[in-house]
Symmetry: C2
Subunit: 443 residues, 2 copies
């Protein structure tokens, strides 16, 4: 039987493998983790609104009843094109007839000095949990040592990047600080906590209409977030961020929401052509030049878009979902002796949330719904897309509970470093991503 | 105002601090973690039935509205009796007028060679998460490398200790293996998975009546658990357990449910008399000899019991809860100029669960309810005692969901070590507990 290896179990890989359930192919989906991560809600895990398990779903549970889909938990180290095998670290290679590369991306630091060492990206569940533990430790640390905390930025959170992730994190941090002071018995003054959102562009949420961006800016400002738009980050250290106008913001917490790149993923290790941000160059049908039966999808691929296919799709969930299943269908078409078809991204609109009763939904037509209605639409859509019925129920309860009472939420520090050293120094992070040489600004 | 420091936020410390809410005392509760752990359900976290957050509750949320109770996240390093201050690692000491020592216990390894290095205790949330990740990695590893797995004990789980925790873990492991094979698409044969329960005594569940113990033994055997009763563990290595009759059981997973001790806790660091298992010797009113205003409670204390106060209370939740609030009331009585009163443990009965539709509830009268009724009673009681309404709802849903569908459950591996090295070698565990010199048997 025709063997398909799907590399990665994010939105793209999952969508591809699902489209192959019950078909006349033998599928193996490979991921270094045994769960799918619902990335759009990672910021809620990072700000202690949801539990890790609420946004993670075991891959085996999804495919447990699909006889033709197997799962392998392993790290892909390369592809042996000659023997047509996917090389895995520490275990047998996987022979393939077709491959769907859905290996995703990692945070992009633009070569800014110190950024990869001293900031917290937010792309994986591990990232989110590490950031949550760090934020909660900052609160405990400033509660125990209020002296000098304000000057040293002990409770200053700098968010780099004014796209949806940056806006969501900034909004959720504002709510977390409010809750901490009102409900958790922290003794410091709410005013000690600062949230600063930095972006190189002079507006937020670039893909949205300007009215939506203005609404987001106004709402964030109302909720106490300081906006530093039109500023580049020049460097990040363990205790400060320096902007291009020389401003130094004392902080122990830099959240990196400045964009993603495929440069440091396995896509860069296999002999394929890559374009901007290391994304694999694909033909209109998502096949990869120079290799037979190889497709690239999702964040890993430079998927073309627009009436003239002259734009590259944004690295968002909808592109991943649609391109993943498209690649799967082309494999089946080829097996049926049919020609492949070009991929056309269907823009279903975009969404961003700022917090309680404040979100923006922009439809494909350009129409914008915001405020409470936008927020309810955001809640509903995210529940619908969340994998697993149990997860949907639990997240719904968590949200309702939080909305009604504020009184709960998984504000627990689970990582190993218990006191002393409440502080998980950013230096402790594994530095497996070299700084980029490129010096393009985030945003 | 009279300053009370409560050391530890387990059942005993929480119960003590709660009894002091709104009273004319200034309370600080200290714990190295920022959450209370509902220990009776840790085995469910370890076997991927519940999420970490379901059994953890932020301490600050409990006391957030209590103006006279503060929380400090810190590790207690000792007590300065002369200046009457509790020393904390990395932060200011806490002055006190009274102390309630509720510092708990840790796993007891009885000096068995290799036990502390190569087995998984189950006393903290970190223990439970580490064990869960290890078990799930074992499943993935054997799925990827079925060759030789049976002979090497790749899926053999040895549980040491036939008390409630050991019985619960063994029963839950049997269910986890069933689910893995039936629903998660693992390709190995269910028969490759072995669960072996070892205890030095020739029966299970010592505090229960023999009929209850027989029922537990029968039910576990029916569910595929092998019992090795009347056997001492002689040594544990990275890949085997050796029993006193020379039997060597090849295994990569030894769960240590062999009892607890206060010997390696802060109770042993402060200048107080300790008895069996390092538990602080207390007077009938729970005060500690030789110091003014010092109480010891819960697992940390050798609390006396029985009509003649000649027995030491078991290290269970009910003793902790009752002794904690008793100590708090004695502090208030002394402040009111009244005499302290002796503590009397009210035995409310004991419970143990074996799994789905099989649990044992033994009332104080000695009456035993078992099977489905025992199980429903067990479920209800644990929901009632679980801290936090949100946690109750979520655990209820998780349980109902699992019971009705089996299809879900947080079977996700959250720890850092991703593949390769699916195996978190037991050697990687921090070895902060020296082996005991004593050679008493577990059980």
């Amino acid at each position: 039987m025709h063997r398909v290896v799907v590399v990665g179990a994010g939105f793209a890989g999952l969508s591809a493998a699902r489209a192959l359930i019950g078909e006349q192919v033998e599928v193996t989906i490979v991921d270094q983790r045994n769960f799918h991560t619902f990335q759009p809600l990672l910021y809620e895990v990072a700000t202690a609104g949801l539990e890790s398990g609420d946004v993670a779903y075991p891959i085996r549970v999804i495919f447990g009843k699909a006889d033709n889909v197997a799962f392998r938990m392993a790290t892909v180290t390369g592809i042996d094109w000659e023997h047509r095998e996917v090389a895995l670290a520490g275990t047998h290679p996987l022979p393939f007839d077709s491959i769907i590369m859905a290996s995703g991306a990692t945070a992009k630091f633009f070569g800014i000095p110190g950024a990869s060492d001293h900031s917290f990206p937010l792309y994986t569940l591990t990232d989110a949990r590490r950031l949550r533990d760090h934020i909660l430790r900052r609160l405990e640390d400033v509660d125990a040592h209020p002296e000098g905390a304000e000057a040293q930025g002990g409770l200053t959170f700098v968010v780099v990047g004014g796209g949806p992730t940056g806006v969501e994190v900034a909004g959720a941090l504002a709510e977390l600080l409010d809750v901490a002071v009102k409900h958790d018995g922290f003794r410091f003054d709410r005013g000690v906590g600062r949230i600063v959102l930095v972006d190189a562009l002079d507006r937020l949420l670039t893909p949205f209409r300007e009215s939506a961006a203005d609404y987001a800016a106004r709402t964030l400002t109302d909720r106490g977030v300081e906006l530093r738009l039109g500023h580049l980050v020049k460097s990040v250290t363990a205790d400060a961020v320096v902007l291009d106008d020389g401003t130094t913001i004392a902080t122990r917490t830099v959240v990196w929401a400045g964009g993603v790149t495929a440069e440091h993923t396995v896509a860069g290790e296999i002999d394929v052509a890559t374009g901007v941000n290391g994304r694999v160059v694909v033909r209109p049908d998502l096949t990869v030049e120079g290799h037979e039966g190889v497709y690239a999808v999702g964040d890993a691929a430079a998927v073309l878009w627009g009436p003239d296919d002259d734009r590259v799709c944004p690295q968002v969930a909808q592109v991943a979902i649609q391109s993943g299943s498209h690649a799967a269908r082309q494999i089946l078409a080829r097996l049926d002796g049919k020609d492949t078809r070009p991929f056309h991204y269907k823009d279903k609109g975009i969404m961003a949330t700022i917090g309680r009763r404040a979100a923006i939904t922009q439809f494909r037509s350009g129409r914008v719904v915001r405020g409470t209605f936008g927020w309810l639409a955001w809640l509903a859509l995210h529940l619908v897309y969340l994998v697993g019925f149990r997860n949907k129920i639990v997240v719904f309860i968590n949200w309702s509970w939080r909305y009604l009472s504020w009184g709960s939420g998984p504000r627990i520090i689970v990582s190993e470093e218990t006191a002393p050293g409440l502080e998980a120094a950013p230096d402790d992070q594994p530095d497996d991503q070299p700084d980029d040489e490129a010096a393009a600004p985030p945003g």
